[in-house]
Amino acid sequence: MRKLTCKEASRLISQAQDRKLTLAQRAALRLHLSLCEACTRFGAHLNTLRSAMRKYRE
């Protein structure tokens, strides 16, 4: 399994909101997130953004 860069990881974090990632992608992403605080925050921010947009129409 190749190591993900933050750039690649951030794209997968975004795509995970739109489609089911492959098993290999999920494994690579999990490994990256376990070591990278910046991308972990990015993922949390995207979840906040999604909640905000849900609230936007309520």
Binding site: T5, K7, R11, A38, R41, F42, R50, A52, M53, R57
Partner: protein, 191 residues
């Protein structure tokens, strides 16, 4: 005016904001909002009260916008989807030397649940949405607010799924940055 009509009319500005992100010509956006409000008033009986009036109106607006997109697809005046499908412009978010790391590390947003409760935060979302490239805003709103499925968006706008993911990624990257700079950074200095 009945309470229901008043509640519907109270959402006019919100509907127009969304419609203008989808349809850049002001008149066309206004037409769609008129159609939505008329349709809503005519179908009051179908409003079950399960969701908010705002959310229900968003659903009606979605259909009116899809109709408008279909109509305009038959006219040559539609802005092409090209240009915003390229991902290279997002490289600025990552270190110049290698793309391994973030150029500036995403901040700790602490308790964002609290921020979501504030009206000013929602105003900031509007501010940031208006600063997105037009097609990026359009796709993001269709997907996240109007709840159009990915395959429907691809079909209506004639783009590939890969292109769609790139556009949504761009929207999230830019919105996240905008909120961080204009809201969360400010909250931090305010203590």
């Amino acid at each position: 005016m009945s309470d229901f009509a008043a509640a519907v009319n109270a959402q006019r500005a919100y509907l127009l904001r969304i419609a203008r992100l989808q349809l850049p010509e002001r008149e066309r956006a206004e037409d769609v909002v008129q159609e939505t409000i008329l349709a809503a008033l005519e179908s009051q009986d179908s409003y079950a009260g399960k969701s908010s009036v705002k959310s229900w109106l968003t659903g009606i607006l979605k259909h009116k916008i899809i109709d408008a997109i279909r109509r305009s697809a038959r006219e040559p005046a539609v802005p092409a989807m090209g240009g915003e499908g390229d991902i290279d412009d997002l490289d600025v978010f990552f270190s110049e030397h290698d793309h391994d790391h973030w150029e500036s590390k995403p901040a700790d947003w602490r308790n964002p649940e609290r921020d979501l409760e504030q009206k000013q935060f929602m105003d900031m979302i509007d501010f940031c949405l208006e600063r997105l490239p037009p097609n990026t805003a359009r796709v993001f709103m269709l997907h996240e607010v109007m709840g159009l499925e990915s395959d429907e968006i691809c079909k209506e706008l004639q783009i590939t799924a890969t292109h769609l993911w790139v556009i949504l990624y761009r929207a999230r990257m830019l919105l996240r940055k905008c909120l961080e700079q204009n809201w969360f950074a400010r909250a931090e200095t305010a203590g």
